[in-house]
């Protein structure tokens, strides 16, 4: 009767494997419980977590939080990661243990980083399960990377990772007390001082100043720097960004003030100079402000020539 033994042996192998997988899973569940929903990994537990016969999925943050590593983005991203990971502890019991959140710090497992060929941090990998009902139908079990273009904030992270977890991550943004508090305080202060600031609010010049500030910042590319997250200056002190469709934060200030000065020289020529009663002083003012207009306009053009190399015109400079 050799067949039964062979069959028995064949049966036994997956059984033992299942056994060990079971125990690994239990271990991970314990680890997760100990870490309040977030496993802090080292090289060995990392291998356990991504064991090739896993029925669970995992998201792992590879980071370098140690001060010596000087990884600013790691520090910026870590709170969001922890918030999302901890919120997974509130997931329904039957799903909670099928997905793990873990963090692997560079200083705990340098060899793992080398093995994965990681040269930058932070990185978030999602490991799908290889076995069981949740294994991907197309058989692709290679980890996928979280795309940081969604942002470092917890909301997009939770939304994107929810595609890979058994149920949606029950992340809820914490109530922003300081924001609402300052709103309420601001509203209250406004209501209380309304009687005193009403003349200011009703003055047309308050509104004129506000409108001017809005217009000047907007036409100097402020929204561009906001949307594109342009730095204030380049690292080497260069404040004009190369390229026609690019700019730094400082350019907004310089260009807005140039426009502002030019507009005010025109206004001075229109409004103030004619009021001057002394003939000699008025003549001096006319010449001075006309020359100032011309000179600042030339500066503006010369900055524009830096941005647009092919521009053929120039004035004084």
């Amino acid at each position: 009767m050799r067949l039964p033994t062979v069959l028995g042996a064949l049966l036994a192998i997956p059984l033992t494997l299942a056994q060990s997988a079971e125990s690994i899973h239990q271990k991970l569940v314990d680890l997760a419980a100990a870490g309040n929903g977030l496993i802090s990994l080292d090289g060995d537990s990392f291998d356990l977590l991504i064991s090739p016969k896993r029925t669970w999925s995992a998201t792992i943050q590879f980071t370098a939080l140690d001060a010596r590593r000087r990884c600013t983005p790691c520090k910026e991203f870590d709170p969001s990661w922890v918030a999302v990971a901890k919120s997974w502890a509130n997931a329904p019991r039957e799903h909670k243990d099928n997905h793990f959140f873990a963090t692997l710090d560079f200083d705990n497992a340098q060899t793992t980083f080398q093995k994965l060929g990681l040269t930058s941090a932070p990185v978030v990998f999602v490991y799908p399960p290889t076995q069981g009902p949740r294994a991907p139908a197309n058989g692709r079990t290679a980890p996928s990377k979280y795309d940081f273009s969604h942002g470092f904030e917890p909301e997009p992270l939770a939304t994107a990772l929810s595609n890979h977890t058994p149920v949606t991550i029950p992340y809820k943004a914490p109530f922003n007390w300081s924001r609402w508090g300052s709103f309420a305080m601001g509203g209250l202060a406004f209501a209380l001082t309304l009687r005193f600031i009403a003349p200011i609010l009703q003055s047309r010049w308050t509104w004129a100043a506000g409108t001017m500030a809005t217009i000047l910042t907007m036409v100097s590319g402020f929204m561009f720097t906001r949307i594109r997250n342009s730095p204030y200056t380049a690292g080497n002190g260069q404040w004009i960004a190369a390229g026609y469709q690019n700019q730094y934060g400082q350019e907004v200030q310089v260009i807005a003030s140039l426009y502002g000065i030019l507009a005010s020289t025109i206004l001075v020529l229109i409004v103030i100079v004619p009021k001057q009663t002394s003939e000699a002083r008025q003549r001096l003012q006319v010449y001075a402000f006309t020359f100032a207009t011309l000179a600042i306009y030339s500066i503006l053009i010369s900055i524009f020539r830096v941005k647009n190399k092919g521009y053929p015109f120039k004035l004084m400079f």
Binding site: L10, G117, S120, P136, S144, K145, A208, L216, Q245, A263
Partner: protein
């Protein structure tokens, strides 16, 4: 009154007025001429051709309208767009543009002028720019006077910010929309100033025309209510406002609902709720004023106040409730993306992918508006100084439009008119001040005058005082009156403010004249260099400076037109859909009317996945030809490899498991196409089609991609599923000598067209068939395991 220079005094006032109006008419005529002429660079440099992408659809639709009449056009179902879905064209477009050209075309033919419809389309935008100059003149005239109006008209006629969307051949909705925008605003200001229901109705009619012409009509829908609301808050409610607004809103809204594409939106979407809310508010206030004027009881007035406020609150609660229940749609995505600037990138990548929807850096503002850029704030301040009702409009328009133009490049177009108006107000005030020949009395004269006045006053006071007993009080009164006298003389000299001398005048005027001349040079240069390229035909310079025309697009599209069956379906990225439909006249899968995200994502998926995955998609959509734009040989940067990441992103939005953006980058996070390119990149259909046989072109030398400046590997990609269909000829040997090749590649390799192979006749998969055709032996792979041990 001294004068800086003599003016003839023997002219009758009638002569002066008549001459002035003649000069104005001549000036406006010349401005129109300049506006039209400066837009003809494109026709002179290239030819009378429709530009870019969207205009090709408008042109195609107009041809249908001209050939078959309006009813056929209205019911036109286009089965070749969005294959196999098709498109109900009549209900999904703004028909204003096509209708305008159709009317012009028919009118010209009625006059026995057999003009080709293409020339009507090409020259429509320059023609309407002349009308825009006139509308801006009328609008600015309401703000200041005729001279400011002429300046504004000249500015808008040549300013690049408007020319960029209205050169000859740029046959797009904006071509007529800016005229409609300015004229509607003019009518609104006129209606408000005169309290005229007639002008309110004219505004409503032009508003309807605008709704029929351009999706940007929402700008008017919100600007006018905003202006009305600001006036109410400033305590400037008047029956003029009530009449003007009510007539505009009631007629305009009803009229706008007649456009099928708009339908019931004006009462259902939040974009239009502001206008409705202000309409309701005006009714409440007008009612309250009416009742108040007939009642005197204090209690009743209090009651009325409560009633008015509570009805206002109830009304807004009703709107909130309706929104909550979903009967009023929330903001549409396009509109929402203007406020939350990160929104589009996250949720609607198609909108974010369009280059017109990128934020504007300051050089673009300066390039488009130059000199006007700093006259504009000065003009807004001058509006604040006067602050009549119509100035409030300019101020609000200026602030709102600056924000919008900063967020999206294409909205520069809505900013440009207000910049021209307000810059013209500033410049013409400056010129008025310094051209006016009257001089104030010189300061010495004034001192003498003042002394005289003071002494005479003092004398009179003294004489009266002498009659009274000279007390301390009297003395005080005397000094007081002296101070009063000097104050009053100052007051009297205040309207005499002005400029002394001729040289000062000449300095300022010459300076202004110089800056204006520079502005003209700038505008001409920008227009001829930056905005007059049709983008269908490219131009470069030969070493000797002569122009070299690159006509790959038309070459390829005409190849398709002449060498493929009329039913052949062409797949390309959506940018080229309208051009293929317009020039090649072939069905396309997706086009520039991006209404179906899934369909576009399907194309994106086919382009970004491997041949094995893409082939079934292509076959299921009956695709016969695949067209890619490749700029690597010529250095044309707007090619598909540079747009490729958007295809990946859009596909990823629908199939996040199958397509992942990071796969297309190197592990270092770089976007590369050379031998370090990632595996997904190298296997993608787009990469293969772009670089197929590219290395062979360099004859053994180093192949270089000139757009990305990367050296290409010697061994280029191979294609198994695309290429010419080989119909097995009788002698198999010749089959082996015909390489599986792309169907067509244009002269400079900008357009490459591939034919999708049909399924293999012997039922093999195409990879095996191809390997067999090349004489390779089939690799013996491990035999598939038929039986698994039963566990």
């Amino acid at each position: 009154m001294p004068a800086a220079y003599p003016i003839p005094s023997d002219l009758s006032p009638a002569t002066v007025t008549n001459t002035a109006s003649l000069i104005r008419i001549v000036a406006l005529g010349l401005i129109s001429g300049a506006a039209i002429a400066s837009r003809l660079f494109a026709v002179i440099n290239f030819e009378s051709i429709i530009h870019e992408f969207d205009p090709w659809f408008n042109y195609r639709a107009t041809r249908v309208l001209a050939a078959k009449g309006f009813y056929e056009f209205w019911n036109w179902f286009d089965p070749t767009a969005w294959y196999p879905l098709g498109r109900v064209v009549g209900g999904t477009i703004y028909p204003g543009l096509m209708a305008t050209s159709g009317v012009i075309y028919n009118a010209l033919h009625a006059l026995n002028l057999p003009v080709d419809i293409r020339n009507v389309c090409v020259l429509l935008a320059p023609g309407f720019s002349a009308l825009t100059a006139w509308a801006t003149y009328m609008f600015t005239k309401e703000m200041k006077d005729e001279s400011a109006g002429l300046l504004a008209a000249a500015f808008i006629g040549i300013v690049p910010g408007y020319i960029s969307r209205s050169v000859a051949g740029s046959y797009d909705n904006e071509a007529i929309a800016i005229f409609l925008l300015m004229f509607t605003f003019y009518c609104w200001i006129k209606a408000l100033k005169q309290g005229s229901a007639f002008f309110g109705t004219v505004a409503a009619i032009f508003y309807f025309y605008m709704v029929a012409a351009w999706g940007g009509y929402a700008f008017i829908t919100n600007m006018i209510p905003l202006h009305a609301l600001a006036l109410i808050l400033m305590g400037r409610f008047s029956s003029r406002l009530y009449v003007g607004y009510s007539s505009w809103y009631a007629i305009g809204t009803l009229a706008s609902m007649q456009v099928p594409f708009v339908g019931f939106q004006p009462v259902k979407t939040s974009e239009h709720m502001g206008a409705l809310g202000v309409f309701g508010l005006l009714q409440i206030i007008a009612f309250a004023q009416l009742v108040r004027s007939h009642l005197s009881s204090k209690q009743f007035q209090n009651l009325l106040l409560v009633a008015v406020i509570s009805s206002g609150i109830l009304g807004s609660l009703a709107i909130v409730g309706l929104t909550y229940k979903g009967w009023i749609a929330p903001w549409t995505g396009r509109f929402y993306s203007l406020w939350d600037t990160g929104y589009a990138k996250k949720y609607i990548p198609i909108i974010a992918s369009v280059s017109e929807h990128q934020p504007t850096a300051w050089p673009s503002f300066f390039m488009d508006l130059q000199l006007l850029m700093f006259l504009f704030p000065a003009g807004v301040v001058l509006c604040f100084m006067q602050l009549r009702d119509e100035h409030v409009f300019v101020i609000i328009y200026a602030a709102v439009a600056s924000y919008f133009a900063g967020v999206m490049v294409r909205l520069m177009l809505t900013l440009t008119p207000v910049v021209c108006v307000s810059a013209a107000v500033a410049l013409s005030t400056l010129l008025d001040t310094y051209i006016d020949p009257t001089e104030p009395p010189s300061s010495e004269d004034e001192q003498v005058l003042e002394k005289d006045a003071a002494s005479s006053e003092a004398g009179s006071v003294a004489s009266t005082a002498s009659a009274a007993p000279t007390t301390k009080k009297g003395k005080k009164a005397q000094t007081n009156s002296g101070a009063d006298a000097s104050a009053s003389s100052k007051k009297a000299s205040k309207p005499q403010k002005g400029v002394f001398g001729l040289d000062t005048r000449l300095t300022v005027i010459m300076n202004a004249f110089g800056m204006l001349s520079f502005f003209v040079l700038h505008c001409t240069w920008v227009t001829s260099n930056a905005y007059s390229s049709p983008s269908v035909v490219l131009a470069s310079n030969n070493p000797d400076g002569s122009q070299h025309i690159i006509d790959d697009f038309r070459e390829a599209y005409y190849w398709l037109r002449q060498n493929t069956p009329e039913t052949a379906v062409v797949m390309s990225w959506w940018d080229y859909g309208y051009q293929i439909a317009g020039m090649a006249d072939r069905p396309t899968l997706v086009d520039n009317n991006t209404w179906n995200n899934t369909h576009i994502a399907t194309v994106g998926k086919a382009m970004s996945s491997s041949e094995e995955v893409a082939y079934p998609i292509l076959r299921k959509h009956d695709v016969d030809y695949v067209l890619v734009i490749f700029g690597g040989l010529l250095g044309y940067s707007g090619d598909d490899i540079n747009k490729f990441l958007w295809m990946v992103r859009i596909a990823q939005g629908v199939w996040p498991e199958e397509i992942q953006e990071p796969d297309y980058f190197t592990p270092q996070g770089e976007y590369r196409v050379d031998d370090q390119a990632s595996k997904a990149m190298r296997n993608s259909l787009m990469y293969k089609m772009s670089y197929y046989r590219f290395a062979e072109l360099f004859g053994g030398g180093q192949a270089t991609d000139r757009v990305r400046n990367q050296a290409m590997p010697k061994q280029g990609p191979t294609l198994d599923y695309l290429g010419t269909n080989i119909w097995l000829p009788p002698i198999p040997l010749t089959v082996l000598t015909i390489p599986a090749d792309e169907a067509f590649t244009s002269e400079n390799w900008i357009v490459r067209i591939y034919e999708v192979k049909k399924e293999d006749l012997l039922g093999r998969d195409l990879k095996t068939a191809n390997a067999f055709g090349q004489g390779k032996k089939r690799k013996r792979s491990k035999p598939a395991v038929r039986r698994r041990p039963i566990v």
